[in-house]
Symmetry: C2
Subunit: 489 residues, 2 copies
Amino acid sequence: MSLDTNTRNNLLFQLGEILPEEYLLTSEEAIKPYECDGLSAYQKLPVAVVLPETIEQVQRITKICSQLKVPIVARGAGTGLSGGALPHEGGIILGLSRFNKIEKIDTDNLTATVQPGVRNLAITEAARPFGLYYAPDPSSQIACSIGGNVAENAGGVHCLKYGLTVHNVQQVTIVTVDGELVTLGSQTLDTPGYDLLALITGSEGMLGIIVEIVVKLLPKPHAVKVLMASFKKVEDAGNAVANIIAEGVIPAGLEMMDKPAIHAAEAFAKANYPLDAEAILLCELDGSEQQLAEQIETVSETLRNANADDIVIADSADEQARLWAGRKSAFPAVGRISPDYYCMDGTIPRKQIAYVLKRISELSEECGLRVANVFHAGDGNLHPLILYDANKEGELEKTEKFGADILTLCVEVGGTITGEHGVGHEKIDQMCVQFSPEELTQFFAVKNAFDPDALLNPGKAVPTLHRCAELGGMHVHNGQLPHPEIPRF
Amino acid sequence: MSLDTNTRNNLLFQLGEILPEEYLLTSEEAIKPYECDGLSAYQKLPVAVVLPETIEQVQRITKICSQLKVPIVARGAGTGLSGGALPHEGGIILGLSRFNKIEKIDTDNLTATVQPGVRNLAITEAARPFGLYYAPDPSSQIACSIGGNVAENAGGVHCLKYGLTVHNVQQVTIVTVDGELVTLGSQTLDTPGYDLLALITGSEGMLGIIVEIVVKLLPKPHAVKVLMASFKKVEDAGNAVANIIAEGVIPAGLEMMDKPAIHAAEAFAKANYPLDAEAILLCELDGSEQQLAEQIETVSETLRNANADDIVIADSADEQARLWAGRKSAFPAVGRISPDYYCMDGTIPRKQIAYVLKRISELSEECGLRVANVFHAGDGNLHPLILYDANKEGELEKTEKFGADILTLCVEVGGTITGEHGVGHEKIDQMCVQFSPEELTQFFAVKNAFDPDALLNPGKAVPTLHRCAELGGMHVHNGQLPHPEIPRF
């Protein structure tokens, strides 16, 4: 898979002709920081790292790589959690960190035009003076780049009400693998032709290199309140989530934590969480004062009807910050109670939350690994944290197996193997569970339409049929495999 | 382009083997009703019309057509306005009217599983007992089918707040051109892999045959109010639209009519519209009583600041119905004041409304044809109605030219050539204005990934580069052609 010497030399010579020295990294010392992304369990060194500054440079780089058949892995801030930016040992990393300009805040059309290397939070900061913000807020928003957000169709706490990245992007300009500049979407509501904007969103760097993005901005809500409800039964908390949505209230955020997560977070962040609860829900509501009053009434009643033990309403900014602090520090908090943890990411229909948590707890007992659950409940987006010790022999493998079982469980109940982290390198085998050979064949055909030589991020996101066959008929089609114990609501 | 006798006979023989007699229409009398869709200016007779009842039949039909290289034009209720279901003279019409079952209303996950021939309004009717409804509401909703809605990414009055069809569809099952069954999307928030669900939505029957759809349902809003504001200047009305959205209020509907449309509608529907106004806005708000009170205050203030002459708030259902009656009857009302009219459909950034209406009025004077404007202002989705007389020689051609000029104008100000009617047969030449050769090439590649022999709805939606070249370098890239008189907000 690595490059032969001739091609390597030719590649570096040609790249050197178009890029200043500090834009082309080849020494092991210089490229070492690019060996992995946020999923650091997997590491590889690329042939070179290029850090272009202009669209023209990106076009030239892709043309050179196309001509020499050299793989290209695009990289934003490298915060991804599924190994989507893991280098290819025979290819280059195309880093977009120099594309860090906010080109325009358009207050009339409520959009921002930005380069892909701009940090997610920087867009909201730039829009703040105009009373506007960019809604999708992955927890890495202080560091992650908007280009990476588009490539992974990133989510976040507020995506329940305001949508995923795909719902908040209006136009994307890409450089194709053969160096052409193509604009997808438009500045208006709808665009004729096939919806290539949605297609590129979440395509994990496999269809083109994103070089400019127009995102939608929203007016900031007037006010915010946060409720915390505690439950004696996990099942009741799960049902409360579905019932709130069914009442027609879409909270700005609706998060759930189970007992192990509550205890870890409380020990770490002193958030005043109830230690006797089996589960808590955090519900953020936004809008005008009047809207808030009414939503709080509806949500409180729904929570009580779902057997909530206690409901706390945080009015002040301080109280709200304290309640969120526990949730936001849940990952590092879990890090304190276990040498290592593995964060999974799957999505299930809301009504299946109670059942899936029960099954995860059974799987946890079967394999002898603890698990803490912290997740975007409103979206049905689970983040089970599997606690393990990498220094114990065989425990990483046991953890990976447990993780894979959780993802298969998600698919079995009609869910999917990813909520917001993407497939990347991590979940490529689970794609064989999610999709049928016919569906994967259609993916290959689309890939081929953009990148016939498979040079863009090869080996990620979409497995070959051969790979799926090797894993052996794992396919479970949208939960249609008969599985008697799954409740069919 | 028509079939040779051998292929035709072979086709009819094979179709006859798998379909009962009344499912396979071949006599001119039987197929005549399928010669056009809602754009009746264009008519063609297909070789045959098939009306399958099961997915298996659709699979067999596509396999037969694939093998014989016979074009397939899928058709729902035939209400489309861009000629997307115009038959191919060498192909078959695959009518989906027998796919008319609502398979499931899922009140837990707020979805409905329906066959493609189900009428749009029938979904809302079926969901009503559960306090739910399906949001996108094209004006043809009493007749149009949900399969056609997905194929055209249909809009409607309420799409400003609740999104287009693409935002309200969760899963679509298609039969590919070679007869494979493929499920796109899932029952959860996000799905791994390329976003083929968004890709199929709005693809105008060119990528696959839709055989099942899972749509999202919403809880019915508690209450509704309608405001009407009148303006002495069209420009002020246009600005008011942008300002309402910028205030953070997203009305359920925000419609605009200009003077000719007001006069025609008032004469027809007696809606109590102000005849001295240059423009009126109709604004529908929904939510709880408290939310409504607050939104009405914000909207009223914004309207006054934008120089609204008069604001009428319709509280009662009767008053509201009367205000909407004028808007809803605007098309037939215009039909009374002109022998013929041609309904255009383009989208522009909201801030460009005033400028574009001024230019349309100038173009109207230049070519001597009257125009009435009735449109989804909140979306920037224009529907200029060009008034003409088809019996006057050359007037249809002049009308088509005027219509094309309006669409080019939409693209010049950063808009698009369609809002909700699709490209179909009607606007295929304007696609050369909208997209560059590189962008069209990417469309071809995607088409090729689904339908390498171009059998699905050939000649629609995406023009060949050859055709664009014949029309002569018309390309204006997202308003980037220098055009000094266009205000750049």
